[in-house]
Symmetry: C2
Subunit: 453 residues, 2 copies
Amino acid sequence: MDVQRPTEEDIDEIELLTQPGREDDLRTFLLLLHPADVAELVSEIKEPAARAVLRFLEPTQAAQLLSELEPSEQRRVIDLLGVDRASEVVANMETDDATDLLQDLEDGEAKVLLTRLPASEQRALRKLLKYEPDTAGGIMQTELVYVSAGSTAKKALDAIRNASPDIDIISVFVVDDVHRYAGNVPLKKLVLAQEPALVEEIMEPKIVEVTPEVDQEEVARIFDHYSLVELAVVDSDGQLIGRITADDVHEVLIEEAEEDMLKMAGTGADPEVIDSDRLSRVVMLRLPWLLSTFIAGLLASYILQSAHLMFSTAVVLLAFVPVITGMSGNVGTQSAMLMIRGMTLGNITSESLLRTVSRDAAVAAIMAVICGGAAASIIGLWQHDWALGACVGVALAFSMVIAGILGSIEPPILSRMGIDPAVAAGPLITSINDISGALIYTLVASLFLQYLK
Amino acid sequence: MDVQRPTEEDIDEIELLTQPGREDDLRTFLLLLHPADVAELVSEIKEPAARAVLRFLEPTQAAQLLSELEPSEQRRVIDLLGVDRASEVVANMETDDATDLLQDLEDGEAKVLLTRLPASEQRALRKLLKYEPDTAGGIMQTELVYVSAGSTAKKALDAIRNASPDIDIISVFVVDDVHRYAGNVPLKKLVLAQEPALVEEIMEPKIVEVTPEVDQEEVARIFDHYSLVELAVVDSDGQLIGRITADDVHEVLIEEAEEDMLKMAGTGADPEVIDSDRLSRVVMLRLPWLLSTFIAGLLASYILQSAHLMFSTAVVLLAFVPVITGMSGNVGTQSAMLMIRGMTLGNITSESLLRTVSRDAAVAAIMAVICGGAAASIIGLWQHDWALGACVGVALAFSMVIAGILGSIEPPILSRMGIDPAVAAGPLITSINDISGALIYTLVASLFLQYLK
């Protein structure tokens, strides 16, 4: 691998270079590193050294560094910079990154930073801060280069020349005479344009645009669907107000995948559950997700307990409850996950839904016969009691099939109820399966009871 | 929302337009749609209409359409096109997309298509097909524009002009005199360059490069770390052999997130588990993941069953096993997931590991006291048996704490053993918790036995 990342030696070296008298060496060392690598370094070195490094960075370098950091690290760097330097650095950040940063700071701190920014920057950020963080408005930036459709290609080139050197330009945006978004001129076309070409002759007309309220997940889907590198954001009149770039969508994809995993693990999707240092806060965030399991566990126990008299004559049956609940929970989660995947691919109609559910039920049935047979044989041999083995095997097989079916119908039902189906692949399905498993086990056991020792 | 997607009306309209005699209207209709939308349409309309649509597309349009489709839809379109037309279309695809397509076809079909391609295309694809699909080599494309460092900016412009019009150009790659990758000239810099600038004066020197064997997850991490839009792929001598673009990384991110979710759900990471139409294949892919749960369930049953005599005197105790296993499974999964997230963020040292584990144990302990207390009160009131309530409550609390600790130490242990920790958040943790839950329950019950009715 050729990736330059700060190594142990880099860290040792930087601690040396931040000693007094070595300022020139430090400056040279920092110039050779990418801001993303300096960001990693700053997170790993001790406070005095970090402070020295931050002092030697240009505001634009520090701005890039700040954009690369996790929220908790950002707060640390803002503190190290002090409010004067911090506001200078924030003014140099891209507006989308600056908005994210301000949203993660304490309200008071964010306000102080905001009021110290240049007026135009302040206005832009105040507007962006009004959008929800997980919408198109929350991830867009206002920095972009645009020209009107009737301009010449040369005028578009001038617009690029006059733009701030820090703006990443992928294409020049084109607007009509009332500033409505009309299309883009990719830089490649501009490079190849022959004078006196007009922008409207060489532009790619708009395919798609979004308004600021659109959910970021929908934005990611649009990027993916049309293989975009950037996307225009327009207001309700169709006027161009910002753009979203591919790297913003990377962050969205990572964030949404994380959220789904957290939901599946039954911790809720609040990232604070990871970041927060306050135990009581984490407990309050995690505890509600245990509730469905708790109630379901008690209900399952209630069912088993109601059959108390029956089970006292064959108490050994109850010992096999973990096999039933464990297996049906697992099969249910498998089926739920595969259904969620099918739904994400987006091609589930009511017809294909039925096909998927029955295909899944068939798979569950085959696995149920295999596992039920294995359980019956193992328990029969081990306990020298074939009736007991048959009882557990049959109960296991039935509860696996039911679990498979419940697992695959839950996600579409939840989704129709407006609940994120990722929740279904987690504790909810296990809870429901615990109850249905207990019911099935009790029923099957009552049928087998007369044959048991 | 302003997103144009094929609506029900579009589908009805296209079915009408594919009637004989309406060829001109069909052509006009198709010209107005983005290839990604045509791809959606083709997946949803019936075979004769789909065949008619495919007949009217230009090879470049059909190539873009094919790149947008899921593997199973790609196979259908290749069949509809017929081998002659299909090879013409594949020749127009970007090499990375063509490679993916050929990898998903049956071996025989892929071979036939390959031999009908133009020689240069064939050579490029055969090379790309040698790389594993989930490596940098497997996702790179060979189409790129490069010049040597000593060239003038004008020569770089000529290189763009002479390149195939279908290549997306984000920057011009720069190589030294032995074709080793040296950097990039972003188009913006080329646009603004004053004659007679040299490429080496305006290029951005390389920050990072990868060799073809690098894992695609590492590629995604590099893109994210350096906020890249494209990345050079070089051979072992550092010579430029391809590039990876941001949209390829989107696919990687989606794929890896899916894989992790599938692993957590205990279905393994093989996407075939979703795609395959053969039931027996799906069973063989899903069944092994049930094995750990099966064995753990039997072991837990064995433990409970060994205490058989004890439990016959207080059979009601066994009815509460689902509460214990359900809750400790859930707490364990929560803790495992949060630890995995912390490890993904990449800032877990052995010191911070200890801090995270103990923080998590503290959270689990608080939740254990709350849930144990609630269980004791509910069961005590319900059964009019406070000793029973206390027994279940204490056992529940202890197994939740142990589950929390096991959940957070499992991921780092698995990861050190070279096993993907996402597996841990799934069936494995539930399995281990079933066993530890049964053990703890048996121990606690034996202590309480003399007080139970």
